[in-house]
Homo-oligomer: 293 residues x 2
């Protein structure tokens, strides 16, 4: 009888509970959240077999503890978990940034850090909350395992195998590379999409403009519907990498501003053409992306 | 027996030919393009009943002449059209920018300008070329009519009614408002998507990064697959409006850079939250966008 405790029962925590149970990785799920409405929803949907607002109550009975709260809240959760977890229990988390979270786990879990195995599922949806949880959310999607000093490879294997049973594809990289890669292809695009909608919404004729928005705008800004708190935390916990990519991007826009103002036709076309060729070239990635839809 | 001459037989020109014929607005189509492969494709697909590389040949036999070349090429085309068009013929165009194109039409068409009725279909696709032409591309989509001094309302009516027969929804606004609105919700997002892909593609670990790109990146950068020449021309012909919106956006990013570097949690969350609420609020627009898919 294996029990999974999900701390933070939103879209990802709830989907993980459904997926791991469907895959037979665990037999029962106890969901822990501060939001009792989310917990009721989790019970109604069969995401959890039992619910509690107490980390202690959730953790004491768990074989595996999955931390799925916004990353800035993880430090406090890890120390609570360390205090009540069973000696043989395993702790994992699904945070979108790695270096900061692993440092928090090191501090919070203390001598239990060797029972910790971080795996970041490259999956999600712009609509948060357990009501959008989906047992197949992780099918054919990438799970990034980020082993680090002081972790136990055999513990990592348990979590990796669990994810593989849900149909996900596990890849391994260093926490630093993970944070750099996702700052570019995930975190920065979220910042840019939020920035565009925020800017237009504050213009005098915002309603006319938003009323004329077409399919291009819809897709470009889809991720601007994502949870502001989750993405605020990602910006704060992957600050260095995102800051560096944002600076690079601002330099790119400085050049484009100059080129547009100077009607520098060659520069504009060269930039657009390089982007087009690389974007259209993302055939393999597109397949991967199709799988990650 | 009504004949439509399409000058520039790509995705939009070809789709317009198919849609207008399907709607019974015209009986036959003559397609004119410099690219003979596109013309062969147009014949094979039944987009055109006859093809030619000569504007003169296409125009002399036409009741309606639709100019669908990249906007920077339109000036030259308008003067050619004016030289050979029949007295009772009508000229329209499908360009994505209005003020510059209308000025070019005024110059190029001369005393035939009163036979000109510009209508911009808010439709398209990131894959160019007549092979992607679609008779239903304009169904339930917006067509922006931009009447201006010296145009004949009865001529505009003919083109508006033709578009309505294809299932499109005609709206009217001034050329200036059109260019301002689409600089914000269409032109700027294209520039931003091209800029991000171009930037990442030029980084040392571009392939690792692009290889990890997920659904968010796919949707955010979909429009970066669009035709570089078409979008270069849009930047050059709607330069003032795009330049202004790009400056505004760069100020927005300056503030976000500061907030991220200072870990200004309140600022970041307020910006993301305002964007999220406005983006999720695009219910009507989303429906409109569904229609424009």
């Amino acid at each position: 009888m294996k029990t999974l405790a999900v701390i933070g029962c939103g879209l990802i925590g709830g989907s993980m509970a459904l997926a791991w149970k469907k895959a037979g990785v665990v037999d029962q799920v106890v969901a822990c959240d501060l939001d009792e409405e989310e917990l009721d929803e989790a019970l109604d949907m069969g995401v959890a077999d039992s619910v509690t607002t107490s980390i202690k109550e959730a953790v004491t009975q768990a074989d595996i503890i999955a931390v799925a709260v916004p990353v800035l809240a993880m430090g406090k959760v890890f120390s609570e978990v360390a205090r009540y977890m069973r000696k043989d229990a395993i702790v994992t988390d699904v945070g979108s940034t790695r270096c900061t979270v692993i440092r928090k786990a090191r501090e919070g879990l203390g001598d239990r850090f060797d029972r910790y195995a971080p795996c970041h599922p490259i999956a999600g949806g712009e609509l948060p909350g357990v009501k959008h949880a989906d047992a197949d959310l992780f099918k054919n999607k990438a799970i990034i395992a980020t082993p680090d000093i002081g972790m136990d490879p055999s513990v990592m294997r348990v979590i990796e195998e669990a994810w593989e049973k849900t149909g996900a594809v596990v890849q391994t990289m260093s926490p630093e590379l993970h944070d750099d890669v996702f700052a570019s292809v995930s975190h920065l695009p979220h910042v840019l999409a939020y920035a565009l909608v925020d800017m237009i919404a504050r213009e005098s004729n915002a309603q006319i403009k938003l009323g004329m928005a077409g399919a291009g705008f819809r897709d470009f800004t889809r991720i601007a519907s994502s949870s502001p708190v989750m993405w605020r935390d990602i910006c704060l916990t992957n600050r260095e990498a995102i800051s560096q990519e944002l600076q690079r991007y601002r330099h790119e826009l400085d050049e484009l501003q100059r080129a547009i103002d100077d009607s520098d036709s060659e520069y504009i076309e060269a930039c657009f053409d390089n982007a087009m060729r690389n974007r259209r070239g993302l055939v393999f990635t597109r397949k991967a992306e199709k799988r990650t839809e």
